[in-house]
Symmetry: C2
Subunit: 352 residues, 2 copies
């Protein structure tokens, strides 16, 4: 009996030790990908982005450092970006053709492979928290529209008047898009912006928001906590001038968001239609699981090869259970950054 007890205690200590991966805690973020170049960026604007991205990283890091879970870290980090008007998620979301802000978000937890998502919500201040509530407080994975809003309210989440999401820059972007009767991803309009840019040398800040908003504004976060568990989350306002209740990849588990402790956690940002068809986030995990690729090899294969061949512009952040990071993108730039267990962090924007 004494011997059995000893074995049990040894086993328990071993398990506890094995589960403490404090030295591996890692958090990675993105704030959207697209035509983001030095030529398009003013120093003030770059500084503003870097500041918020750094605060986001530090916020998530503090959660992880204090023993929080990867889901808690992802939530806290994305709140910072959702609450900032700089990013196309939460406050600062782009406008639909009808002049509304319709938000999507999703979360997945690598340990349980549980997931949650909301699509087309208009009055939930932090859609990522609604996605987490769907995952943790319901038997469902995905809720849409009024129903999702009703659920979020019942769960005590912060409900705001839809006007909360209004920002002048995004509204101007809608007016511009409507003026040219073009939707977000119209290539002619894109070329027009690029030509204008080439002519003038640089875009004005409003144009930049227009350009960026027209592209793939989305925020995302992947994290690894001290328990060795991964999580991934994504939040977006979709496309400027979007019509017909268009839904992108951000709320789609497997496309915009995926997490599995056996492989990796992924959050994507890009031309959503291509990311849905290519089931981007799950494809990266599948390449690791079935072909034995590293997280970097797998993410590169999907983003830099498959998506490029198929014409799908954008990028991903990916993180494996050992804290290895990948942040590939095939667009001109991607707001991104990471922070490691020792607190060392880096924020990047451009290709070089």
């Amino acid at each position: 009996m004494k011997k059995l007890l000893h074995i049990l205690i040894t086993l328990t200590s071993f398990t506890a030790a094995a589960q403490d991966s404090s030295d591996k805690i890692t958090l990675v973020i993105h704030g959207g990908a697209g035509t983001i170049t030095r030529a398009n960026m003013s120093p003030e604007r770059e500084k503003a982005y870097r500041e918020v991205l750094n605060i986001a990283l530090q916020t998530g890091y503090n959660v992880l450092k204090q023993g929080g879970t990867s889901v808690q870290a992802v939530e806290a980090t994305i709140h910072i970006m959702e609450d900032s008007p700089l990013f196309n998620a939460g406050k600062g979301a782009v406008f639909t053709n009808e002049g509304k802000n319709e938000l999507d978000a999703s979360i997945m937890e690598g340990k349980t492979m549980k997931a949650g998502a909301v699509a087309g919500v208009t009055n939930i201040r932090n859609p990522i928290s609604a996605a987490i509530a769907v995952m943790e407080k319901s038997e469902h994975v995905m809720m849409a529209g009024k129903g999702a809003e009703k659920f979020a309210k019942e769960q005590g989440l912060k409900i705001v008047d839809p006007s909360y999401f209004y920002t002048e820059a995004r509204y101007k972007a809608l007016l511009k898009a409507k003026e040219s009767e073009k939707t977000e991803l119209d290539h002619d309009a894109k070329e027009k912006v690029i030509k204008k840019n080439q002519k003038t040398g640089a875009l004005k800040p409003d144009d930049l928001i227009f350009t960026e908003g027209r592209k793939f504004g989305t925020v995302g976060c992947v994290a690894l906590d001290k328990f060795g568990n991964l999580a991934a989350g994504t939040s977006t306002g979709g496309m400027t001038n979007k019509k017909y209740g268009r839904t992108g990849d951000a709320p789609i588990i497997g496309a915009g968001t995926y997490a599995n402790n056996a492989t990796c956690a992924v959050s994507a940002t890009g031309h959503g239609e291509f990311f849905i068809r290519s089931v981007v986030a799950h494809d990266i995990a599948a390449l690791m699981e079935y072909k034995g690729l590293s997280v970097k090899e797998a993410a590169d294969e999907v983003v830099m090869k498959k998506l490029v061949e198929r014409g799908g512009e954008g990028g991903v952040i990916a993180l494996d259970k050992n804290g290895n990071i990948a942040m590939p993108f095939n667009s001109e730039g991607m707001y991104r950054g990471y922070i490691k267990s020792d607190g060392k962090s880096e924020v990047l924007i451009y290709k070089d």
Copy 2:
């Protein structure tokens, strides 16, 4: 010059010959999975199901035989099941908690990997056609709610009064579900039905619809056309008594529907939440692409192993580019059938 011409003609004939896969045309269907056992089924009811399933197979086969595309065959086949009150899709869809019928559908084409989906639509007679319109006539993949309905109307699809979808049996099922204040997938309610079944020896037809409706009513079709192209489509009314704008796997590319000529076409039916988390349809394709499994091995691995371990009940139909079929399910039964190029067909319902 003459020699070059000869080479060109030879090449062209070769290509044309290679593209004519008339001898491989195949079509597979499902009409939902769940607690479908001989004990629960009356002879009349079984006959009714077999009849519609056979008509569906024959309809799709005729399209393929006459040189139609796999997408056209999937559409025509699913129309038969959407228009039949026996299946939880189109006419005969289950009711939401609010007493509405909210329909989801999706399509994917293996050659181009283009896809389309609609979610939460209430007045489109054939949601699968709306999904196809999204794929073929828009730059988007997924549209939801009122926006999707507006698009479908603009595309000239058949719009009906929502009352078109009413069937007495499904409405009774809602009342029963509400009575017990349980949602579709509540395990207590499921046990109650099973216990009742065990007591009485068999359920009454209404109970059966209730049981079947409470489970995983969905219809789907995968097809291989004479051009060697695969397609997959899925259509559903979701879960009886569903709340909060719950969206299942049927409109999610990668989860309920996936097609890629390089691997396979898949349509799923089951406990949608588990199918979304497991990215079921794409996972089967990934096992073929990255591990070299056959379509049968891959479908079995996901449905009979992974989903069983994770508690996800249901099944899939899958078809590769050579006309090989898989129809695994881990529930008690699945309405299913296939038809081969020679017109040989089979309709199956139970496990044995």
